[in-house]
């Protein structure tokens, strides 16, 4: 599973299938601060991702 991290780096992890919130925990990322796109589409963190999926994790902002 290929993952694009908020800092722009990319990382490959050898997970067959995992929930996105578990993947975030594994990466040490606070799920409250990010949104995750699976294969280009934003998905809820309860969703699972498999080995052929590509995840993109983006830190979203709240200021005005």
């Amino acid at each position: 599973m290929l993952i694009a991290l908020p800092d722009g780096s990319r990382r490959e992890i050898a997970e067959k299938c995992a929930r996105i919130d578990d993947i975030l925990k594994q990466l040490g990322i606070n799920p409250e601060e990010v949104i995750v796109a699976k294969n280009g589409r934003i998905v809820p963190e309860e969703e699972t991702a498999g080995s052929n999926d590509e995840l993109k994790i983006v830190r979203f902002v709240h200021g005005g």
């Binding site: 409250e32 601060e33 796109a37 983006v58 902002v61 709240h62 005005g64």
Partner: protein, 243 residues
């Protein structure tokens, strides 16, 4: 009908969408939540562009530390309510439009009253709890919400059309931790301008809106990116079980 002065004032954009489009803008009442960094860019471009009625709401007074980005307000406005200086700036830019500027704290109790008669909502807030309230109200009233947010060099925008697109809670199910965010005036300008462009396109029925697309601006690296989104069938705000 547009007056001769209005035809002249808006002549360069009438080339874009015709007098018909300009009249649509003139007939549109907008609600702008916040007169800070985003609210400055949003309200100035909406006023200059001829949205006929602007209601802008902010409960704060101008502080010196606002002036790097909040271009509605000037040095002499420090200590004055933001709504007051917003009124003066906007009516100074365009006396042809109607501006209502209110010193109010947006809340569950007054949101319906504040939004009365408004056709669309511009999100220029600095926190997610009030954004969720705007989202919920937009869904209930079935009017569009033009979302924008910034921090430092980064910003995001999307257009929410109730019943058609993902709502704010579908995209951001949880509010991020409240922190003091770094803010750059030009980032507010980028994102506020995108929000106004979306509102102009919506009203004049032109182009492709940011529907089900979250636009992400990374000013530090000069990159624009987008992520697709869709309605979440389990969304606490817009799923069919709620409406």
């Amino acid at each position: 009908m547009l007056s001769e002065a209005e035809k002249k004032r808006y002549s360069r954009q009438i080339r874009l969408f015709g007098e018909d489009g300009q009249e649509k803008l003139k007939r549109t009442s907008v609600f702008i939540a916040g007169a800070g960094g985003l609210g400055s860019a949003v309200s100035i471009y909406m006023a200059a562009g001829g949205f006929g009625k602007i209601r802008i709401v902010d409960c704060d007074s101008v502080e010196l530390s606002n002036l790097n980005r909040q271009i509605l307000h000037a040095n002499a406005d420090v200590g004055r309510p933001k709504a007051k200086s917003a009124f003066e700036t906007l009516t100074g830019i365009n006396p042809e439009i109607e501006v209502e500027a209110l010193v109010e704290t947006i809340s569950q109790d007054n949101i319906d009253q504040l939004l009365q008669g408004c056709d669309l909502i511009m999100d220029a807030m600095d926190n997610f709890p009030i954004r969720y309230l705007l989202n919920r109200t937009a869904l209930r009233r079935k009017i569009p919400l033009f979302h924008g947010a910034i921090s430092g060099y980064q910003g995001q925008a999307t257009t929410i059309i109730p019943g058609k697109t993902a709502c704010l809670s579908c995209i951001f199910p949880r509010a991020p931790p409240a922190t003091i965010f770094p803010a750059l005036g030009s980032t507010c300008g980028v994102i506020g301008s995108i929000q106004v462009t979306e509102a102009v396109k919506y009203v004049t029925e032109a182009g492709m809106l940011l529907e089900n697309r979250l636009l992400l601006w990374d000013g530090l690296n000069g990159c624009l990116d987008e992520m697709a989104c869709e309605r979440n069938s389990a969304c606490r705000e817009c799923s069919d079980s709620v409406y």
